[in-house]
Amino acid sequence: MKQFQYLRAATQQSTLDAISKPGTKIIAGGTNLIDLMKRGVTAPDKLVDITHLPLKNITPTKSGLHIGALALNSTVSENGIVVQKFPLLSMALKAGASPQLRNMATVGGNMMQRTRCSYFYDTTMPCNKREPGTGCGAMGGLNRMHAIFGTRDKCIAVHPSDMCVGLAALDATVIIAGKKGERRIPFTEFHRLPGEHPDVDNTLAKDEMIIGVDIPDNNFAKNSYYLKVRDRQSYAFALVSVAAGLDISNGTIRQARLAMGGVAHKPWRLFEAEKFLVGKAVSEDSFKQAAQIAMQGAKAYEYNAFKLKLAPATITEALKHASGLV
């Protein structure tokens, strides 16, 4: 690990000043950044610790809930309002990492965590995300964990977060602070697909920081489920995960929210499948059809073809749980 300077940010403004200089990075819980530094994937000259900034609040707003960027993953997952009104978020968080990690990890850090692709982590391997132009180790390599949606030959890595899958389904908005003030963007537009620039994970500019997320009120609380399929029962990244929220009235679906994890470079919202479900009766059949619609455009690689089967199965199961069929 390279030697670096450590600063503790006193204010949001001083943080923004610091990160506008090259080689400077924000550190929050450090659970991802420090690993990446140890592996030599990133080597900042300066770290700005933001954990003392007043961005930990979880507060109801007129139309929903505001969660500060520094609220801990564990705190959010156990927050009374979250559990009651947005159980999907609580479930998604609890499906991630381990209690120890969740006690350190922050909402902002979780959104900014980098892919777990082995080729990204190993600096002796080619990786367009780590070092643009070097190629993609996972293409033609061991790509069992990799994406089936929105890929380009340049990168087939997935975004590893569970929390983000929940927030994508819940129509959250990201609140970003920059030199010129605040801006807000829909959660689903925060992360991006690899395209020609797999090194860029999201739309946050280098001199911006996340200060929080807003979640609008909804009618999904009663019929929500987060289903994560993984290689062990806990403490493993998703092979496929599905966040499902349904608004059901008299056995008919009025609205649906669906997002998938472990399948794309960003939390993968299933807009078409959601549309299909509106007005349908709660039934395994319609869930299966929705799952088929969701799979349109999926493309597998040598070792992840199983996801073409696992993903629709997981969507169907998640919907069955959410709707109370199981």
Binding site: M1, K2, Q3, G40, R116, S118, Y119, D122, T124, M125, G137, G140, G141, L142, R144, L227, V229, R230, D231, R232, Q233, S234, Y235, A236, F237, L239, F306, K309, L310, A313, T314, T316, E317, V326
Partner: protein, 713 residues
């Protein structure tokens, strides 16, 4: 019932539950010192630099930047390393342990090319990142499956009766099985502190399973009299075979301490652990199993090909279990090794047998379905009453009792012979079983037993305790014989200056050292009787006798080992594992709902630690079955998951209910305490039991481990 049973055998006075770990408090309060934790004056820190190619040689090495980095004392490479005297042989091309910093050759990816020594760990780590190398790269081979035809036969094929007789049997199974590389990954990283006390005197605090073996190996490498090498290792944070031998990093640390003339601490990183201290080798197997229509085995053919390094041949008993486990008139086994550009494997808990039992016990399960016969019944039909290999009688075998105990506890009667026929709350339910066996050994050990004036009994021997609770078992034995409370007994271990004991491996320590403790205590008692002029054995007031004779202490040093019984009987420990699993029909997720492991390993000396030992082995087998797999990208010859985020071992949620049961009948012949080994059999057969349960649940037979969800959807 064995007619020799009334013989001797430990007079057990301790409770059924057994005493608690004698070092438990030290461990949970952090007071137990592990190798890396000794504070040694003037300590320096070493960090290894792993090579990044898989085959070839080092062309150039640039260590200038590293040497100039703050706090760096030395950077050792093959170009500047002092010669290790023991490396100079008359056959330089002979295969053997990797010689570290010996020449420019690279045999596998991750092979150390340099060792940086600095005044702090962080500085050493940073400087290590500054070492650069260029290589002459040669094409490598790391894929066993691709290279299987290039294997060689390291030991003679075995055959009894007719070759490949299964082929002509009325009912037969012929299948291939595969296990990936599994890495021991004990929680404690391998660590050594090496300190030269004089030009020819050395002290090492070293993670090892063998105190005396490490002393001998290091003495040989540096051409020192063994007594001049002090090895200290009283606590070992798990090893599972990974610390059975002396590895190159240990030699490197001793070498480095010589170079910098200060003590050197070298702790492997988790990534280093994947390429430095062995692993269970990736193995291909094929079983041909034939039976008559009523389930009598006609023949077993078991073939295996395992991987080894190019510089060393590591063989294990993968196919031997098929020669031993069942009464089959015809058995053929063939074993091959394939030399690849990988580091050398090493025994991992249940070495060979765990690999072989996965194939054999899976095949038997497959046969049971082909015959439509209960798998227990099929095994009982082919139960061996005498050792099929040697024809000798068993010293003891109660495996059939174990079958019964386990079947009752798991609820075997709920099993439906038809796969995929039971559903509970949306999950497919399956039951499966797998059996295991492992040689029961007794070596030679010397124990000093000293009764002190205050009634404290001191026991000393140079054994290690890698976690099973050796100290606890020894105290328990001594407490029973001497009839004094466990709290009055102190067991010293982990120090090469103590009387010799063998390496802790092969499930032999309780049998070997326990017998020596038994014999030493009996001898000490006899000495007290003599002193006291009494003849009847049993409880004595040791303190009073010492006082009466004006003695501060009374001691004996006793060496104990087996005799002619070792050749007269076939000695094994046995196990059977029962599993109830749930499999999700849509997502392929497997949950072990309940595991019951039963061991037939003679007398249980210490019930608490024995239960933990069996449970631990069952959990390790669960990892083998469901998740453990070190994966190499063969294009690069490099591991892609050499860390605990990507290499999965079971977590709490994977192991909800594990029960350990014991037959607990003494073996009358193996040793005076009636106890046989249990560490290995705890893991042997587990993977098959789970694969068999998964088949019972789903009708899907997974023959390549691990059984991950993708293989079931």
């Amino acid at each position: 019932m064995n007619k020799h049973m009334e013989n001797k055998i430990l007079n057990k006075t301790s409770t059924l539950e057994g005493i608690s770990r004698v070092d438990g408090r030290l461990k949970v309060t952090g007071k137990a010192k592990y190798s890396a934790e000794y504070s040694v004056k003037g300590i320096t820190y070493g960090v290894l630099v792993p090579g990044t190619i898989t085959k070839g040689s080092i062309k150039t090495l640039d260590i200038k930047k590293a040497e100039g980095a703050p706090g760096v004392l030395s950077v050792i490479t093959y170009l500047n390393a002092p010669k290790v005297p023991g490396y100079q042989t008359d056959k330089p091309q002979a295969k053997g342990m990797l010689k570290i910093f010996y020449d420019e050759q690279i045999y596998f990816n991750g092979q150390p090319i340099a060792l940086v020594i600095a005044d702090s760990f962080e500085r050493a780590l940073f400087a290590a990142s500054l070492v650069t190398a260029t290589y002459n790269v040669e094409p490598h081979q790391t894929d066993l499956i691709k290279n299987r035809s290039n294997g060689f036969t390291p030991r003679k094929d075995y055959s009894r009766g007719e070759d490949d007789a299964y082929k002509n049997a009325p009912v037969k199974v012929e299948q291939e099985y595969f296990i990936p590389t599994e890495v021991h990954n004990p929680m404690e990283l391998h660590a050594i502190i090496a300190r030269w006390d004089a030009d020819d005197k050395l002290t090492v605090f070293d993670k090892t399973q063998g105190i005396k073996a490490t002393q001998k190996n290091i003495a040989q490498a540096f051409k020192l009299p063994p007594d001049n090498v002090q090895v200290t290792s009283p606590f070992v944070g798990g090893a599972f075979g990974a610390a059975l031998r002396t590895w190159p990093h240990e030699i490197a640390a001793v070498l480095a301490a010589k170079v910098v003339k200060r003590p050197v601490k070298l702790v492997l990183s988790r990534a280093d652990m994947f390429t430095s201290v062995g692993y269970r080798p990736l193995t291909w197997q094929k079983i041909g199993l034939g039976a008559t229509a009523d389930g009598k085995f006609v023949g077993i053919t078991h073939e295996a090909a395992g991987q080894t390094s190019v510089y060393e041949d590591f063989t294990e008993n993968s196919v031997n279990i098929s020669q031993l486990m069942y009464a089959s008139p015809n058995v053929t086994t063939r074993y091959k090794l394939v030399s690849l550009n990988v580091n050398t494997p090493t025994p991992m808990r249940g070495p060979g047998e765990a690999t072989g039992a996965f194939a054999l016990e899976s095949a038997i399960d497959e046969l049971s379905y082909a015959l439509n016969m209960d798998p227990i019944e099929l095994r009982l039909k082919n139960y061996a009453d005498t050792d099929p290999l040697s024809g000798k009688p068993y010293s003891s075998k109660f495996l059939n009792d174990a079958y019964k105990l386990g079947a009752d506890r798991i609820g075997w009667s709920n099993r439906n012979q038809k796969p995929g026929s039971v559903i509970e709350k949306g999950w497919l339910v399956g039951y499966g079983m797998g059996a295991g066996m492992f040689g029961a050994y007794r070596g030679s050990a010397t124990v000093l037993a000293r009764m002190m004036a205050d009634g404290t009994l001191l026991l000393q021997t140079a054994v290690t305790d890698i976690g099973p609770g050796t100290g606890t078992a020894m105290v328990s034995i001594a407490s029973d014989i001497m009839e004094i409370p466990a709290g009055k007994i102190k067991f010293d271990l982990g120090d090469s200056s103590l009387p010799p004991s063998p390496t802790q491996g092969g499930s032999s320590i309780t049998s070997t050292v326990g017998s020596a403790v038994n014999d030493a205590c009996k001898e000490l008692q006899a000495k007290f009787q003599e002193l006291n002029g009494t003849t009847e054995s049993g409880k004595m007031d040791y303190v009073q006798i010492l006082k009466k004779h004006n003695l501060q202490q009374l001691e004996v040093t006793t060496t104990s080992h087996g005799g002619p019984e070792q050749n007269k009987y076939a000695m094994y420990s046995w196990s059977v594992h029962f599993m109830k699993v749930l499999v999700h029909p849509a997502t392929g997720v497997v949950k072990v709902d309940k595991a019951v492991s039963v061991a037939d390993c003679g007398t249980i000396i210490s019930n608490k630690t024995a239960s933990s030992q069996i449970k631990g082995g069952t959990i390790m087998g669960t990892g083998m079955a469901l998740m453990e797999e070190a994966v190499i990208d063969h294009r690069y010859g490099r591991l892609i998951n050499n860390n605990f985020a990507d290499y999965h071992v079971p977590v709490q949620a994977d192991i909800p209910q594990v029960e350990a049961l014991f037959v607990n009948k003494p073996d009358p012949y193996i040793n005076p305490i009636g106890a046989k080994g249990m560490g290995e059999i705890a893991t042997i057969g587990v993977a098959a039991a789970i694969a068999n349960a998964v088949y019972n649940a789903t009708g899907k037979r997974v023959r390549d481990l691990p059984i991950t969800p993708d293989k079931l959807i």
